[in-house]
Amino acid sequence: MENELVAQTTQRAMGTVMSHKAFGLSAQVSVAAVCREVERIEGLLSRYLPNSDIGRVNGSAGTRSERISRETYEVLSTAAQFSQSCPGCFDTTIGPLVTLWNRGRDSLTQPDESSIKHILPLVNYRDLVLDPVSMTAGLREAGQSLDLGGIGKGFAGDKILDVFKQLGSSSAYSNLGGNVVTVGAKPDGSPWRIGIQHPRQEDRLIGAVSVVGRTVVTSGDYQRHFVDGQGKRHHHILDPRTGYPSESGLVSVSVVAERSLAADALSTILFVAGMEKGVAFLRSFPQAGAIFIDQDLRVYVTQGLRARFEADKGIEVTVLD
């Protein structure tokens, strides 16, 4: 009987559309609680809200550190660890560059080289000062700003999992605008089947991955992109080293892992690092698997996902050693 109870809702938050679905007796209550949790996390991490933790740290850049919540501290310190472990692949101080490129997206023009060169020195994760005792965060230089685009939804995904579990949901999923988190298996005991978007054909999946209680996060060059006056495609994943959208030869990277924060950071890192460096980097995360798609639309999956990834008809898959 319990399996017949289901609740589903959609929510606009964190600049995207989310959907949450839960089964079981607590379905209704947990879906409502998840929506509130997402709003709460957005209130902490959004750089567009001046009174959020991140908004205040950005507002005081070059002046002083700001007291932040334990949760924001956790996100920033985890992000700093990722930045240190793969320098140049991932940087939460990328805010000024994102602002510059967003301006370009609205006017469909590429920022000029001199503006990028001028702004690039502000992007430096070493200038984020974190103090675990006073629970504060600060940016050393005026003009610097944090942007948690590569990790914020991942953190929200983990918090959603906590809410589902606390309220007794044993079968649920949330899709945070493409980041998927799952609790347990489907009510009939079978795994969740998560489609992986084909990066070049909008009406097609490249395949599907079967998961139980895991998260699937994809970084790709095909959403939030614009085509400039010269017909060049600019996507939203910026390379902190060059200041330009990443051109690593990959067009999509999906990471399958236990925790969503790590999966979100990893998918961005692997996308920017490229195939060779990315595969090597992933070895430090034996619990995580990945699906890489390169610009020739060749698909590569890590060994652990071999049995769980099913490619669409006509798609060839290479299993990585």
Binding site: N179, G195, D203, L205
Partner: protein, 135 residues
């Protein structure tokens, strides 16, 4: 005396109109917060082309209409028939429409992709599909 009754009548009409307006405003607020697309049973669609419209939120700026074609019980095409959204030129609705076609044809629960936005486009699709549904 007559003047007083007229004055009271005007107040009454204004009050009723205000109450009606307020209830509609609240309804639209509620509607905008959550636009679920789960009322359609894809297993019970009749063939034909169906017109769907979504009135948009309280300022009507996301109002849109579409034509949904059902062939052999499956959604085979969705065309935008009109929109007040100035963002229509970005063609994001096409991405969303394609996902409706895709989700029914592949047995997946949900789709992982690079981040996607907007939901209003899907509401008109749902409205068209509800018309296509058998009783």
């Amino acid at each position: 005396m007559i003047g007083l009754w007229i004055a009271l009548g005007v107040v009454g009409v204004l009050g009723a109109a205000g109450g009606y307006g307020w209830s509609r405003l609240m309804k639209e607020h509620k509607e905008a917060r959550s636009l679920p697309l789960n009322a359609v049973d894809f297993g019970r669609l009749g063939d034909g082309t169906y017109h769907g419209a979504y009135a948009g939120g309280m300022y009507k700026w996301r109002a849109n209409e579409c034509d949904v074609t059902v062939t052999n019980g499956r959604v085979t095409g969705i065309q935008l028939a009109g929109s007040t959204d100035p963002g229509t030129k970005n063609a994001q609705h096409e991405v969303l429409y394609d996902r409706v076609i895709q989700a029914q044809s592949l047995q997946v629960d949900t789709i992982s992709s690079a981040t996607l936005t907007s939901k209003a486009w899907l509401q008109a699709v749902e409205n068209a599909l509800l018309q296509a549904q058998h009783d």
